[in-house]
């Protein structure tokens, strides 16, 4: 095995890391002479590294020994595969071509016929290669969900049979007493698009008495079902807050003090390393009047734990959960984009001081700690998305700084590692504001390509440009030897293969990928009322990541801000048709399964989707 490009000696944190890397490269035959000499010299002096070298060699031996034991596939595998391909081909095939018959050859006949097939199909392969662009319209569907949804809604508009699914719709709704409660409703089937038969929507909702802030503006769930993050709008009497509501016992570890302004720079490193470090200088404030409802057994202010013992983990949650800890206070949330990192260990959002004394900055909360930390301090930064456990943010910089003859502000995106505080400017992606990066491939992102401007309350809004889907590239965390980034020059649109999602004025949007990277949902706020917008869903080709923006699975559906996309389902709140734009409307679920795509209306009333 051989690879290109060598690395520099200062690419590794320690010489031992360098030695391990060199040992690995040596096993692959990819080591340069000079590096090999360095390695030899290092090994001579480093007994632990020699031990590592021996273990790498033993590990290779053990792995390679497995080559002698090749598991054999079942004998009927070809028959099964051919049948599946036949099914795949049938709708597009002309009857009587003999195509299916040939595919279903018995395995024993398979090899004997391979040569004939090879010659015959050679012509056809050539035609395919030669005619690819011209024949694009007839090429097989590539908008394929990983679990088998292979067609667009139009093609699926057949058959009245509801599609069985098993999805949970989580939402927050008011009970008869007017209190917001957490609800989970299981949906067992969805209606294929175009069907007239109603689906069964009678499944009762499981209501959970976790009391939520009455002024909740947005609620975020976590993969591990441990907590909700509730964002509360500021009111005349209440400065607004971001709170964590425990759904089960969860330890809170005191951490370095969060939302203080970092010392300097656009992205300040954490003042202390994260983790169970002591001395929280700002213990979480107790909940303001009215926000800690009586049903909460113990408010944070009463918990001795939160008064920050500097040592071990502390449990602020009474058994059964329900306690609330404010992780940020006195801030106004900016935009709709906030989310957990891939591991679920971090949560990021954008906020600004309530009095608009500064513009937006990015906040990061580490699960289990008592407060969110502000990680930028320029008042011009917004959160975009997570790439693994590193966040992608954007800062509005003076256009002159980046050249290009622009005036005003242009976006500069960056990667930030909340664990280490390391920041990397991503000059190679060009002008990309608030990128929502495909978490799976990390090769595509939705972002604003263009300039931005300051609007009222020091907020930053897109200016000239367009909302696009474009190529993405960021350095792999382990590959510190990526070629050093150079600023994108020339035609960004062409260089990054940008496809326009929305041209013209866009005030706010929220783009989110299914965690498996198979689907992309984009919500764009209306100009008149930014709490209402239009939601579309697109399938991502599992092979090359291509997205056909012209064939959305959901096309511009009216939706309130805040949707959920995961586990094969998109959930959103459709506003009432009375034009009031209030939360009185319906909850909609669109699910994709191997059987197709369908939607169902699951709840009518005033509800917030748990994102």
């Amino acid at each position: 095995m051989s690879f290109g490009r060598s690395r520099r000696p200062d690419d590794w944190p320690t010489v031992h890391d360098r030695a391990r890397s060199a040992l690995s490269d040596q096993l692959d035959g990819a080591i340069e002479t000079r590096e090999a000499a360095w390695l030899d010299a290092h090994l001579a002096d480093c007994a632990p590294c020699r031990q590592v070298a021996d273990e790498y060699a033993a590990q290779r031996f053990a792995l390679r020994a497995l080559r002698d034991h090749q598991p054999l596939p079942p004998r009927d595998l070809w028959a099964r595969t051919a049948a599946a391909i036949e099914l795949e081909a049938q709708p597009r095939s002309t009857a009587g071509r003999g195509f299916s018959r040939r595919l279903l050859l018995a395995p024993s006949a398979f090899i004997a016929t391979a040569l004939v097939v090879a010659v015959a199909s050679g012509l056809l392969t050539s035609s395919q290669l030669g005619g690819r662009s011209g024949g694009a319209g007839s090429s097989p569907n590539v908008a394929i969900a990983s679990i088998g949804a292979t067609a667009t809604p139009r093609e699926l508009a057949v058959g009245p049979t509801p599609i069985p699914v098993r999805k949970n719709v989580e939402y927050v709704a008011r009970d008869s007493a007017g209190n917001l409660k957490l609800n989970v409703k299981t949906v067992n089937e969805v209606c294929p698009v175009g069907t007239t038969e109603p689906c069964d929507t009678s499944a009762p909702a499981l209501e959970r008495t976790v009391t939520i802030d009455q002024d909740a503006q947005a609620v975020y769930g976590s993969d591990d079902q441990q907590r909700l993050i509730v964002m509360r709008t500021a009111t005349q009497d209440d400065p607004g807050a971001v709170s964590v509501v425990a759904l089960a016992d969860e330890p809170v570890v005191p951490n370095s003090s969060p939302s203080e302004t970092p010392p300097s720079g656009t992205a300040a490193p954490p003042s202390e390393s994260p983790g169970p470090t002591p001395t929280p200088s700002t213990p979480p404030t107790s909940a303001p009047p009215g926000s800690a409802p009586p049903s909460v057994p113990a408010s944070p202010s009463e918990s001795p734990a939160v008064s920050a013992s500097p040592t071990a983990s502390i449990d602020v949650s009474p058994p059964g959960g329900g306690s609330t800890v404010e992780i940020a206070r006195g801030v106004a949330l900016v935009g709709q984009t906030a989310s957990y990192s891939a591991s679920g260990d971090w949560f990021a959002f954008t906020a600004r001081p309530l009095d608009a004394s500064a513009g937006p900055d990015i906040y990061v909360w580490r699960v289990g700690t008592p407060a969110a930390r502000k990680i930028t301090a320029d008042g011009r930064s917004v959160f975009g998305s997570w790439v693994g456990d590193r966040l992608v943010g954007s800062t509005a910089v003076d256009a002159s700084r980046g050249g290009g003859g622009l005036t005003g502000l242009r976006p500069m995106s960056f990667l930030f590692d909340p664990a280490s505080g390391g920041r990397t400017d991503l000059v190679q992606v060009g002008s990309a504001w608030r990128p929502a990066v495909d978490p799976e491939s990390r090769l595509r992102a939705v972002y604003w390509a263009g300039t931005v401007r300051t609007i009222e309350d020091r907020a930053i809004a897109p200016d000239t440009g367009k909302l696009v889907l474009g190529d993405w590239s960021d350095p792999d965390p382990g590959a510190s030897a990526e070629p050093s980034a150079t600023a994108l020059t020339g035609d960004q649109s062409k260089a990054r293969h940008e496809t326009t999602i929305q041209a013209g004025r866009v005030d706010d949007w929220d783009a989110a990928w299914d965690p498996t990277g198979t689907h992309l949902a984009v919500w764009i706020a209306d100009r008149q009322d930014a709490t209402v917008g239009r939601l579309s869903l697109y399938a991502v080709s599992q092979f090359d990541g291509a997205i056909d923006l012209k064939s959305p699975l959901l096309d511009d559906a009216r939706a309130l801000a805040g949707f959920s996309i995961s586990g094969g389902a998109l959930i959103w709140a459709e506003p009432a048709n009375d034009g009031s734009g209030t939360r009185d409307g319906t909850l909609q679920l669109l699910a994709w399964t191997a059987d197709g795509i369908g939607t169902v209306e699951t709840f009518e009333g005033s509800a917030l989707v748990i994102r």
Binding site: A30, P71, I85, G122, N168
Partner: protein, 217 residues
Amino acid sequence: MVGALDTRIGIGRGFGGGASMSDVWRQDAAAGFVEELFAAHQNEIYAYLIRMLRDPELAADLTQDAFVKAYRNYNTLEKAENARAWLYQIAHRVALDHIRRQKIVRFLPWTGESRGAAPSTERLVMDAHLSGDLQRALERIPERQRAALLMAELHDLTGLELAAALGVSHVAARALLTRARESLRQALAAERAAEADADATARPPARRGDPRSGPAR
């Protein structure tokens, strides 16, 4: 087999005139091509998937999926000589998709939904011929690292093929292999330490943050 594909396409090029071919013929081409790929690579793709997923039936299902996807995306293969890496890339994504979906299913809230019990360790060892230590250590390292190691060490992918199959740059593939070797080394050491411990018959599953589960991706 790659050579045979080259020849086949070479013959075809001599005839030209591709744009006028009918869709059905294109499908025939794709089907024939996938048949050839299947004959040449089914064993290694199946072996790769069984080593990644440790479940023979699942590996067979996903092998089938991978070849159906190859058929479906036939027109995205630019050069026949890249067919093997392309196929590994498809199989890799199919495997990762499955693993991720399993994780999602596992975390479905409050319903206890699951995809059924995993096959027994004995059966896995029998099927995949992995030693217990190595098997468990491989299970502990992140999937992408496991994939990189299997492809490089067992399936003999070249550096270029590995990068293509993983969908990353050469440098990133090399770095991933470095991390994978180190993760496996640590995981093996942890396994052996656990074995040495006389009462460690019932091992708890590796958790995030568990030092024995090796470095994160």
